[in-house]
Symmetry: C3
Subunit: 359 residues, 3 copies
């Protein structure tokens, strides 16, 4: 366990643990002068800021008597264990043992450390311990573009990362579970085109009418055909984009696997519409909260049922549009480190699949 390798046994479930990837650890605003404990696939990790204010991340266990370092405090940029006062720097080196006459630094006393990156108000950590990442974390799109408003949002869900990613990008459940929130009574036969890339998968929907309700009115006050894209980007980003003329809404949901069967979702909604910016948040948030609550309840009951039966027994159909692409990518990324392309628009799809569904 000392190697910082993160693992928890889970039964016959679609549990994947892509480790050579970045995940959101917390918001920048959540990490101040006190250490903060988080979980990644069930393993406790402690975050703290060094003397420069740079976030650091260690396995949350003192190498001496296995007390959580997050129960201690930050002392001059070091993390101090509350039991015997051992101190560790941001790389996990033991830099002080109060009772000891002599050198405290020893390899066997090192605590595993995780690379961190603070950007766009979020602190990311690289899931594989003691590793220098070969790529950057995901960037929320249009973040510097002043034409866009950015609304952050967080929520916690039960269920595997796979079940949650599929849920976010699953159009059929939207039409049924969220009936009345996204779509009206009338059903339409919609054409789909799935494009598969090495590090992502995208589905474009054709012939989809303007969404019902608020979302539709913001995007297309006068009706008209909209462009709708659903995207899964490794390791855990589920993105939904709507376009109409110069209007644009991009919802980027970054999932952090708290355990094999629980995720924390860090969302940023990028909006460019013809509505006063200060009106957006109060308009969008109540809608988002209702959708989130319905999904939380469904994912809760799904996980309870799967655990009750001792594993998953899923059936896949052609209308589970991105489900199998997500599975395939998660599985592959758990076995090898697939580099995530920083400029997705220039990628060429490995394959293209066409289909249709009623929504």
């Amino acid at each position: 366990m000392n190697d910082g390798h993160l693992h928890t046994p889970t039964g016959r479930m679609s549990v994947h643990r892509p480790q050579d990837y970045w995940y959101v650890a917390c918001l920048s605003s959540e990490l101040k002068s006190k250490p903060k404990s988080i979980r990644l696939w069930g393993s406790a990790i402690v975050l703290f800021r060094d003397q420069n204010g740079t976030p650091k991340a260690l396995l949350d266990r003192c190498s001496h008597r296995n007390v959580p370092l997050s129960k201690g405090k930050c002392v001059e940029g070091h993390l101090q264990c509350p039991y015997h006062g051992w101190e560790f720097d941001g790389e996990g080196q033991c830099v002080k043992i109060p009772a000891l006459e002599g050198e405290s630094k020893q390899d066997k006393r090192k605590v595993p450390s995780f690379a961190t990156c603070e950007q766009q108000g979020h602190i990311w950590i690289f899931a594989k311990a003691n590793t220098e990442p070969n790529h950057q974390p995901f960037s929320f799109p249009h973040y510097q573009d002043s034409a866009y408003s950015h609304i952050p949002f967080q929520a916690t869900f039960q269920g595997t990362m796979h079940a949650n990613l599929e849920n976010i990008l699953d159009v059929p459940h939207t039409a049924f579970l969220h009936k009345g929130l996204f779509r009206g009574v009338e059903r339409n036969l919609i054409q789909t085109e799935i494009r598969r890339f090495a590090d992502r998968a995208e589905c474009q929907y054709f012939g989809e009418p303007r969404p019902e309700g608020l979302l539709g009115k913001l995007l297309a006050p006068n009706g008209g055909a909209i462009e709708h894209f659903d995207r899964f980007i490794l390791p855990s980003i589920a993105q939904v984009e709507y376009r109409l003329e110069d209007r644009n809404i991009v919802v980027s949901n970054c999932l952090t696997p708290i355990s094999d069967t629980e995720v924390k979702m860090y969302t940023v909604v990028a909006v460019k519409v013809r509505v006063w910016t200060w009106l957006l948040k109060p308009l969008v948030l109540p809608f988002a909260l209702r959708v989130v609550k319905q999904d939380q309840e469904m994912l809760d009951t799904q996980l309870a049922c799967i655990e009750d039966f001792g594993g998953e027994a899923f059936n896949y159909t052609e209308v589970d549009v991105l489900g199998s692409s997500i599975s395939r990518l998660l599985k592959r990324a758990s076995q090898e480190a697939i580099p995530v392309s920083p400029i997705p628009t220039e990628q060429v799809a490995e394959s293209v699949l066409r289909g249709q569904l009623w929504a």
Copy 2:
């Protein structure tokens, strides 16, 4: 798990799972227009009524994304999953997938189903999925005889099916645990005769004086020798019968294994005595509730002790009159489907054992 085979691992306990048999699922009055979830050996089963009002039973798990179907609703005699709206008929066939253009019925989308039978105010299910039963459920005796009153009663108990069956048919604990409720201070040496059949076992007690208390007064207001029979009938029926002249009390207790270590008891007391019928229930119920409560507490504490020690370590004596017959029959019925005889009176006993006990 998809095969509807019901199983849960349990340690070194006398756990038996006779599957080719009928168990009470619920009372007829408990199943109305909403689906109802029950448990059999820990597996979730959903009951619902089809368009004719006939009870149907399926494994409580949608074959698509494993959400419990009992969380959905009945739509025109079908069961509708709350996640994507898939619909199933009483035989488990998937008859509708809202988002899908094309045929929904496919073998791999079938949910395992259980045979059902509604009679005498109870709904029974056959424990082996996708199976046509070769015999009928147990019939409560004298049910059509107008000389009898029938008092239904239900209670839940901790402990294995074996521990509960033995408890109901165990005379020595009656004399000790329920002291004062059944018997007085004076102790008698009673002769026993055990008759073993292929599908049941019966013990007759000789030389037993009139029971103390209410039961005795109802049955034998003027004293006199009574006839007392205890019977175990496969798979889970514990029956106690008292006779005196033309008076008769038959208590039929049908146990349903909710889990390996919890049972729900569906009892019907058939009474033919010289008491006004409307007086019977208020006279008998308080007595039954006191006995049940004492047994519930004892079976609770027994199970906790067995689980604490990691398994059973029982000693059998000759005064545990029907205990070993129950074990033997449950064990055999878990391995092969023993047909239950509809006319027990014509059976010839495989063996007869005589003994005695103080009570």
Copy 3:
């Protein structure tokens, strides 16, 4: 399980179960006319007094249907099971079966029994069932000496026996976790000498100034050099002794392993100081309670962390003075029955180790 062998599986933790030894079961005052249930390494044991008032100890499980005997009552010096009324004597023999015509005593009906010893206000039991001990329990020192006051104290702690024993005898954590309670701001380099015996280990501290606070003032009102000894005595006694001239404080902490990861501490503080006796308890108790609370919280958080990570990953240093001696002795005593010497002062140390630490 019937053999009274006590065991619970525990992961990669320093769990030891020395069985050929005495542990405190309870205080004499806690065992009256009712049976009392205790736990040793998770196994339930029932204590009761026979007709002479002598404490007896049996495995807390009736040999018939596995109900806890502690739920029954004492009847003429026997323990009576509440289910069928079976009765057992202090050696575990079944002396009565109410329903049975004939002899109740049979070897297979015997309940495992444990040797007991009542002395100095404590009831001790020998952890190996059905065994005649070859030595006496630990004696609290100076118990008959009228120059000493004896203050009893009990507390429960999470963590393995090893973690708790080390915690009590660990000077470095005292200087850090209990800062201000034992020692002041100034740090001193203290010399240590560890003496290892077959059944115990002792560390003497040299150059240690008078302890700060109350303890120091009681012992050395005018300052001066004190003698300080920490001792571990098999199987689970952690003793701390301070001497100055004719003043003496000996804190004997006897740990009983309730489970592999929980201990109950039975402490007696023997004090010979120049303070009115009636003042001692109100002076010492608040101090002890603060130290105990800090240690309880630390041992809680340590155990939670170890269980969370699935096992221990400790590092040993030369300032963990008695830690490895405790490990070594516990391990050896779990494998063979090491006789505990009644007269430790005459023993010759197997080895002597010298070191130093800052405190």
